[in-house]
């Protein structure tokens, strides 16, 4: 740390260079242009601009936190340097693109991007604006460190809230229009962004709210954990239950469809959470069980030429889960003696083998090869066929609740503790009398069963399935969501699914950069917050045992 302060100038220059690298990269790979059409504030401020100016601000903020003791003027100058370097690197990119034919190689350096970067002015004027704005935002970021903590937190929370509302503007607009009519919706939003005045109101209101909440939290003494009896606990769940039941009515068809996707990934996430989060077995071929569940359902129920039994959805459902769990045991047995990274690679191999087999002509007579299986009927209850997303929602909700309930009970059970013991140290666990074979296979089987359940719901949801739906990226997606949420934590898995599956579906612009963001997120989470956003207690304690110790001293 001392090193950092003594070479503070070098540090500032380095941070500026990093900020420049980030902004130039975001521009060169096309993110800025793609997001440049998405306004937070109508006509004023786009997501692309956020990408250009947030990195210097964030880096200046974090640097200022470290060198606060040097005084406000030096910090300001250093922050300005960060902003200036970042802006200058962007200007350099524009200049280079005007001077050399870079676009033949870097396909995303379009004239439109150049227009965005120079604010549709000449290079010199544009460069001045770029540098000016990045200096301003960087200084703003750094100065935030000098604002008293309570105000700072309120300010930051309000900024994030306003940006969030702006981000979801098209959806909120559509929903508000649906419930309160066009005119009310247009008071707050244009069809795709926040209006300026409401934005200021939202900002002020949320700032005030967060300020008073923070103040209240400071004043009140930490309450002792109230012990609730089971009945009180149940009563507390009622509003949540009602909310979940009427959710499809609030959301409308499109959003319910997205919620359904979130639900399916949540189901898989809960399963993988048992395998990776609790038992510590990093499984990268998890999609295989999803595929097995989906294909079993398809083969059993399809009314097309490939269907063998034309069973009903409900009769086939337990079979799918059982088949997947069995597959979990079968694929788990050979890898019982592998640990850590070898396990990851082998399971990845399994996943790929299953996908290639599903694609191949070898199994084509049974599961249709690349043409997949068609005509999978929708489930029906009491004569009503569940066709719309709103109706299917309840099937998925049921599955997710069941999975959440089972994982919650399992985690607190004897089995759950043996998993955690095994994750911590296999040898010690074995010495304590834990049957490793049975424990591991149980984790694989239950995880696979959840995934199979998700697959079994997935195939009637789409009514036709193809091998391409079951690629490695699904496994990575699920892994990302449980890591972002918090390994071993059930609420974390739910939040992870909402953020990592829901957001990309809502923000179609993200789709192209979804995997880039996931990759980045995995790295950033591991470096800064390995326990996830909503960590399980055990993991948090484990990862921060050192900090607590230090705090006590």
């Amino acid at each position: 740390m001392d090193n950092l302060t003594s070479s503070g100038w070098r540090q500032a220059l380095l941070q500026g260079f990093v900020a420049g690298l980030i902004t130039v990269s975001a521009s060169t790979i096309g993110m800025v242009e793609l997001f440049g059409t998405r306004y937070f504030l109508a006509g004023l401020f786009t997501m692309g601009q956020l990408l250009l100016f947030a990195p210097p601000a964030v880096l200046a903020f974090s640097l200022a936190g470290k060198i606060k003791s040097q005084g406000i003027s030096i910090v300001t100058v250093k922050a300005a340097a960060i902003g200036a370097i970042s802006g200058a690197m962007l200007a350099l990119l524009v200049w280079a693109n005007q001077t050399f034919p870079l676009r033949t190689v870097l396909i995303n350096l379009s004239p439109k991007l150049m227009g965005l970067l120079t604010f549709d002015r000449s290079l010199a004027e544009g460069a001045l604006i770029l540098i000016g704005v990045s200096v301003a935002t960087a200084v703003f970021g750094a100065l935030l460190q000098f604002v008293p903590r309570l105000y700072r937190q309120a300010l930051l929370s309000a900024i994030i809230t306003t940006l969030g509302v702006g981000l979801l503007a098209p959806l909120l607009f559509e929903r508000i229009r649906n419930f309160f009519g066009q005119s009310v919706a247009q008071l707050v939003f244009t069809s795709s962004a926040l209006q300026v005045v409401p934005a200021i109101i939202i900002f002020a209101a949320s700032a005030a709210l967060f300020y008073f909440r923070g103040k209240a939290a400071l004043n009140s003494k930490p309450k002792a954990e109230q012990k609730l009896n089971p009945r009180q606990k149940m009563l507390r769940q009622i509003p949540l239950a009602i909310f979940l039941l009427i959710l499809p009515m609030l959301l409308g068809s499109y959003l319910t469809e997205i919620t359904n996707n979130v639900g399916i990934f949540l189901l898989m996430g809960l399963g993988l959470n048992i395998v990776v989060g609790l038992a510590g077995l990093l499984d990268l071929g998890y999609v295989a069980f999803f595929a097995i569940g989906a294909y079993t359902m398809a083969v059993l129920t399809s009314t097309g030429p490939l269907g063998v039994a034309q069973m009903s959805f409900w009769a086939a459902l337990p079979i799918c889960v059982a088949v997947s769990a069995l597959a979990g045991v079968l694929l788990g047995t050979p890898v019982l003696r592998m640990r850590g990274d070898y396990l990851a690679i082998v399971t990845l191999g399994f996943g790929e083998i299953i996908r290639i087999l599903a694609l191949s002509d070898l199994l084509k007579p049974f599961i249709g090869g690349a043409q997949g299986i068609l005509q999978i009927p929708k489930p029906s209850i009491a004569g009503i066929t569940l066709i719309s997303p709103e109706q299917l929602y309840y099937v998925i909700l049921g599955g997710a609740l069941l999975a959440a309930f089972i994982s919650n009970r399992l985690r607190e059970s004897r089995v759950g503790r043996t998993w955690i013991a095994m994750r911590e140290d296999e040898d010690v666990a074995e010495a304590m009398g834990i049957n490793l074979v049975r424990t591991k296979l149980l984790a694989f089987a239950i995880g696979a069963g959840f995934s199979g359940l998700a697959g079994a719901i997935f195939s009637p949801k789409l009514t036709s399935i193809f091998p391409h739906s079951f690629n490695l990226l699904i496994s990575i997606n699920i892994l990302s969501l449980i890591i972002v949420g918090g390994l071993g934590s059930i609420p974390g898995t739910i939040v992870g699914a909402l953020v990592l599956v829901g957001l990309p579906e809502l923000l179609r612009e993200f789709a192209e950069f979804r995997w880039l963001m996931y990759g980045l997120l995995l790295v950033v989470m591991m470096l800064n917050r390995p326990e996830g956003f909503i960590p399980s207690d055990v993991i948090r304690r484990e990862l921060h045992s050192g900090d607590e110790h230090r705090a006590e001293v």
Partner: protein, 353 residues
């Protein structure tokens, strides 16, 4: 105790059964193929030659896995992306413009040299950056964490380069001087394949010299033996680890050029499958063992090229070439189950968890 023994026996029996079943299937398929004899000896020779060319490439990539594993005991999942980044950049930024200007046809050797150098340079840059940002801070973290950052880095770089150069396949320009083939035994060998093998052999010789004779190479070896003792001997461990990544990435960058020459195209996703296959090769040869990586690569290339025709066809599998990748993955699984120390059998720390 009794219960545990019973369990273990069951598992062992299961594994033995699996082993026997696979050997039986392979033997049966081979027998049937040889019986019906659909190929001439010349066909087989062609398969073998292609296998050697392909295997050389795997060998070069596998060295990166093995080196990093030797030093950090970590599977560098992003290594396939180091391989991709170099040649994808070199093709887009250098090879295509050079070919378009006609320079490539006038000075093929010089052009290929420049393309190869750029490829290696970019691969090394990406490798050093990844190591510095994503791996170094986690060097003492639980083992799962660097593996997860490696997966993250891998996807990040894939889609980063997709953003830079586009998602479409870029054809690698044909080099006039490398067209055609040379007679060899009773068949002919493509000139590109000859070049691939020659370059690989030269690279392996250079690598061997670097690792055994230079100070940097000795630093790498000592760090892979024991980091703490190496540090006590005055070796800068961080620098030695960076050097390890750089060496592996140099080989990967070179392998990228060979890939582009053999397959004639590059794209952002090209690193993934060769990456896993090269990892298989490294495991096959005995991970952590440099000659092992070379042997493993060669063997895997041969298996992949000969295997489908040798035993899958005999089993009467329709369109058996679709299952080519399954062979590599199955081999990976089998080696890890039955002989995790690999062919070259250097002792593998059993308890690395």
């Amino acid at each position: 105790m009794k219960d545990r023994l019973k369990n273990l026996d069951l598992i062992t029996a299961f594994l033995w059964l699996l082993r026997a079943a696979i050997i039986l299937v392979v033997a049966w398929g081979t027998f049937k193929t040889l019986l019906s004899n659909p190929y001439t000896s010349r066909n087989w020779l062609d398969f073998i030659i292609f296998g050697i060319a392909q295997g050389s490439m795997y060998a070069l990539i596998a060295i990166g896995y093995t080196l990093v594993y030797g030093v950090l005991k970590m599977i560098n999942f992003a290594h396939g992306e180091f391989f991709m980044s170099g040649i994808f950049t070199a093709t887009s930024a250098l090879a295509i413009p050079l070919a378009a200007s006609g320079f490539m046809d006038q000075h093929p050797l010089l052009s290929l040299l420049a393309i190869g150098l750029l490829s290696m340079l970019i691969s090394v840059g990406i490798a050093l950056l990844t190591e510095r940002i994503a791996y170094r801070p986690l060097r003492h973290a639980p083992r799962l964490m660097p593996l997860i950052t490696a997966i993250g880095a891998s996807f990040f770089w894939q889609y980063y380069f997709r953003g830079l150069f586009g998602s479409q396949v870029r054809p690698f320009p044909t080099v006039a001087a490398l067209q055609g083939s040379i007679p060899f035994l009773n068949t002919t060998v493509l000139k590109t394949h000859v070049l691939v093998v020659v370059v690989t052999v030269l690279a392996l010789v250079a690598l061997n010299f670097f690792i055994t004779k230079t100070r940097a190479g000795m630093a790498i070896r000592s760090v892979s033996e024991n980091k703490d003792v190496a540090a006590l001997m005055g070796i800068n461990v961080d620098r030695a680890i960076s050097m390890t990544f750089a060496t592996g990435a140099t080989m990967a960058g070179l392998a990228g050029l060979l890939y582009a020459l053999v397959y004639g195209q590059v794209h952002f996703f090209m690193g993934f499958i060769p990456g896993i296959k090269a990892f298989t090769a490294a495991v096959l040869g005995g991970i952590g063992n440099i000659p092992g990586a070379a042997v493993g690569g060669l063997l895997l290339g041969l298996f992949e090229s000969v295997g489908p025709s040798l035993f899958l066809q005999g089993l009467g599998i329709p369109a058996f070439n679709q299952l080519k990748d399954v062979i590599a993955f199955t081999m990976l699984v089998l080696v890890l189950i039955f002989r995790p120390q690999g062919i070259m059998g250097e002792r593998l720390a059993e308890k690395k968890a």
